[in-house]
Symmetry: D3
């Protein structure tokens, strides 16, 4: 209901409790593809689990520590994007996202990331936004690269995915760079 | 930033911490007229006080217990509207609102209330919404009357306003009534 | 143990943990008649549930936010009466009560309500006390009417009772009215 | 208001917030004599401090961990008595008390202690109650001795009183002993 | 890992979460002998229970309210010793301990108690340390007696052990006494 | 008091409340040199501030989320080292440290880091430890380089230091690498 409008068909809707059922269904529909790169798929077994996730992200929002939004296309949830945490002392945050496999390749994520970068630098007055993606996750890495973010390095064995560690490519963009680009 | 769009120029924006300065300024500008019917004006002496109000309303939101939004006209805050509390057991809530004196008479509040009634009955699946206004507060009472809400009675000496009690006219609308009207 | 004495045989005893067993038994004995107007009967399935209720009412008491007492006749619990919540800003509260079916018609409730009104206006310095009862609950409505409280209106579909909503008759009494009557 | 009746003129009233002013005044009136044996007199400088004490004792009560009552004689507070803490695992507690200097020698404290011992053993089903008093505090020690409690030993340098330590005489009574005596 | 060194082979190691498995195994191995005097053996049925104990003792440590350490001999846990609670107002604490039956009679406990007394008086600046042991628990009572602590009295029916109460011998040592002895 | 022994003269002592005074004095003595790279120097104005830091690090320790230790040389505090946070899901942590200017160049920090790496991989079973240092902070960067840690990249404008941002060199070491080296 509470949304950031991106264009006529696309919006970022703050996740609320009554979204749990729909969000769970979307995640279940893309379970195979999501599980390849997201660590929390196996523990999200019911709408009740998804509700717990939404509740904890609402607490995060009310603590001014980031938020999670649904990417909504023509009224339907097609993915999730949000800030994991906001470091107010150093004025930085990091972005995470996933998209239903049925809506890949349509530019939704690039638009969504661009909108949240704008929010981070313009409304929240942050100075740095980071995006991390597994080295081999080409679809995810394509986003920061398309947006001209800087690859700062590789964080080795950075995340545990069910039965193995993956290395993370670390990208960042600073407020000055964003201003030039906008 | 996170908003419910009403029409091209009007939206209900979930209050966030970075709105404190602007909201305080608006309240200060209408201090005289707001103080006539709102009990919290005298204790709202700085943007820091307004920030505390916003923080407590964000906690309310994250607890799924209602929320407070800024009424935004052409990008500027002109008032506040929200649900005070949600009684999930009995599926009811109550609405409160105020408008800057400079934007009265333009139909903003009627549109805003209508939008939130829609949200209450459609998204939140509530069954009853209440509006209370002081007996002599004609501008405020005009809203539920214009929307065809039912006057249920008068709650005597219901609210303390600085140095005297006021009686409240109690209006309600039920989901069935809303459906017929929409 | 901690009691307000009403007369030689009747007292209002602050509910404590060791009352759970007796209170549960009384509620079970009147289950049929209580269930007609009270929403919490079906979820009170054991003395453990009653203990939870007592614990939460003790928290309410220690937060200066009202309390729940057992109506005790000749040493036996025969009902419950208490203040649901105290609104200190507006100096008001509301009263709720129920009586075991075996002790109806003896004037216990009228005496108990009168005693708590006295406590509200005299000790707590409140200005307004409200009583709500379902429209068709004649026994409950008889109390505020007998005490000369004012019927302020009808709150429609105000409470969910297992499978249907009921409308509430809303009564109130103000401190000035109480002083005249006492 | 919520009281345990001892006799026609004496009662133990659960301390509530609205007692703060009266209790503070009583303590101030006996400041000299109370300060000799009580450690908290110097930090009780206003009715606000007394209110904090009452609030913490209400939390103790609601946690089923003991309570503090005012000793009330002919409607006036003349002292305080209560259980410091209840050890439910070992079914024991300890009693503390003080009396305004103007009401000493009238047997109030002996009656009050006797009543609370009855409460501890009968209602709370405890097995052991302890009373500690400074070795040289003859008035306080007279109570457990009059009640036939057993002197178990001396706890050396047990309590800090502003500028020196005092040794405590430790008395106890067990449920079997109480039953014989009652 | 974080330890107080007693001698080349003996140390007191602050209990941490990763000690749960080893500590549980040691307790299980001495279950028969420990159960005679310790009340918590029957409820310690798995390493998970031991982990809960460790977590609560870490909270105690972080609140500056005492701590629990493993007695470690040649790298192996052979017992536990710690301060139950610190009374900062009166500058006192009490010591509790147990030893695996396989390591009795080697002087470990006397050395451990001596070390913690030193810590209490020297680092924590306390004035009094108490040790309580069941009257008939000769092994436990031998420690304070060997260290010249004073027997202050007998606390009757002081502790519930599964199916009976035991009386406690109460020993103490004051800082002046400790200084003379060291 | 609770320490990890490094060698005869050097140990890592878990910070406790009674260390506040000494630690504050050490920080004040090196204020000029510490302020160049540490963000919290200006807000550490008294032993009371240092006590708050110690308390929060004890909470961190009791939550199994890392800890802070004093580097102690011949019984005197000469610096601080600790884990900022432990990510148990991904089995990683990061190390931070500082040394009094009077004790630089003696190899204390290299020994301390080596000891904590051992603790992280051996006791805590972690898989990855990270060290971050400002690009121009040569003394700090020398430690991970001396230990053969891998420079993974540069985190741009990563930390706010009073009036400017600094870039961080990010180093890591994995458990396999540590095993080879040990």
């Amino acid at each position: 209901m509470f949304s950031i409008q991106i264009d006529e068909q696309l919006q970022l809707k703050l996740l609320q409790e009554y979204d749990a059922e729909e969000l769970f269904t979307v995640m279940k529909g893309s379970k195979e593809s999501l599980r390849e790169w997201l660590p929390f798929i196996d523990s999200n077994e019911s709408a009740e689990d998804t509700l717990q996730f939404i509740r904890s992200s609402l607490k995060q929002f009310s603590a001014n520590d980031g938020f999670q939004t649904a990417i909504v296309y023509k009224g339907k949830i097609v993915g999730v994007i949000g800030f994991h945490h906001i470091n107010w002392q150093n004025k930085s945050t990091s972005l995470g996202y996933w998209l239903s496999k049925d809506y890949e390749g349509l530019g939704f994520m690039t638009k969504s990331v661009r909108k949240l970068l704008d929010h981070a630098f313009h409304n929240l007055k942050l100075k740095r936004v980071e995006i991390r993606a597994a080295i081999a996750n080409n679809k995810s890495r394509a986003i920061p690269e398309r947006l001209g973010m800087t690859l700062e390095g590789v964080s080795r064995q950075s995340e545990w995915l069910y039965d193995h560690f993956v290395d993370h490519a670390v990208y960042s963009i600073l407020v000055e760079e964003w201003k030039i680009r906008s």
